[in-house]
């Protein structure tokens, strides 16, 4: 089985991540709030993880509603 590839959306603050999560919940896009991986940041932050194929859907949903800093491949 091929390993699932994920991307994470990084936000300027926890409240942005929460807002994004609410939007994704309403949009029915599977996602997971996880701690920002250690190799990306040493801050105690959270980010939104989605499967790689959902990246464009997520960007479309969030655009104009909540800004994000970066999208990184895990």
């Amino acid at each position: 089985m091929e390993e699932q590839r994920y991307v994470v959306f990084l936000f300027p603050s926890v409240s942005y991540a929460l807002k994004a999560e609410k939007i994704l919940k309403v949009a029915g896009i599977a996602h997971k709030l996880i701690p920002v991986p250690r190799d990306i940041s040493s801050d105690c932050g959270v980010c939104v993880r989605i499967t790689e194929d959902k990246q464009q859907d997520v960007e479309r949903e969030l655009l104009g509603k909540v800004g994000w800093d970066k999208v990184l491949l895990l």
């Binding site: 926890v14 991540a17 929460l18 997971k32 709030l33 996880i34 701690p35 959270v46």
Partner: protein
């Protein structure tokens, strides 16, 4: 001929104490160890003493560490107790005395703000998967049982933990109280005897 220290099979803090003694008497030493804790402790020793450090994986889980003294290397008296306290020996000692048990007694982490507490507990449970070694047991009681139900945001993490061999005990009384018995999707329903015995037999209890 560089000095070789065989610290295989020795418990923390022995390897790091032997390494410290040897590097103070030699320009370069080779240390053989067989566990990650010893590698990490010697790495920290090297950092503290400004020694060159390199580690090579050998067969059978043996690691060969080479320490090279640099000009700046300081010589301080060997204080075994101080080294033991400074290095992670307490953690190792704890591991040897009994299992690591994680207590999820709430579906939030910390007190003060439940929205934040929700984010924190989700991060915490997800991070448990990356602990090395993994916890032996996770016990869920009171509102902590809400973490193992179908719509829980950490259900997949707890299911993965269970798959990786972590025993997840779910308080039956609590599940009954919240009337979520039909929604439990990870771990197994347990009782206060098992819960109390598991806690009493733990080497360490971790409660977020």
């Amino acid at each position: 001929m560089p000095e070789t220290i065989d610290a295989r099979g020795l418990a923390c803090p022995q390897p790091v104490i032997m390494a410290k003694k040897a590097i103070e008497e030699n320009e370069q030493i080779t240390v053989l160890v067989d566990n990650d804790m010893a590698v990490e402790n010697i790495r920290r020793l090297a950092l503290k003493m400004a020694c060159g450090f390199s580690v090579t994986e050998k067969e059978g889980g043996i690691r060969e560490i080479v320490l090279v003294r640099t000009g700046a290397t300081s010589q301080t008296p060997i204080d075994s107790e101080a080294i033991a306290a400074e290095m992670s020996c307490a953690v190792v000692a704890g591991k040897e005395t009994g299992p690591l048990v994680v207590i999820l007694s709430d579906n939030h982490m910390g007190r003060g703000d439940d929205v934040l507490g929700d984010i924190l507990i989700r991060s915490f449970v997800h991070t448990l998967l990356q602990l090395k070694p993994l916890p032996d047991t996770v016990i869920c009681y009171n509102s902590g049982v809400k973490l193992v139900v179908k719509d829980s945001a950490v259900l997949d993490d707890l299911q993965q933990l269970a798959k990786d061999g972590v025993d997840i005990l779910v308080c039956g009384t609590c599940v009954n109280y919240f009337e979520i018995g039909d929604q439990v999707a990870a771990g197994h329903i347990s009782n206060m005897y098992d819960i109390a015995e598991t806690m009493a037999g733990a080497g360490r209890l971790l409660r977020p």
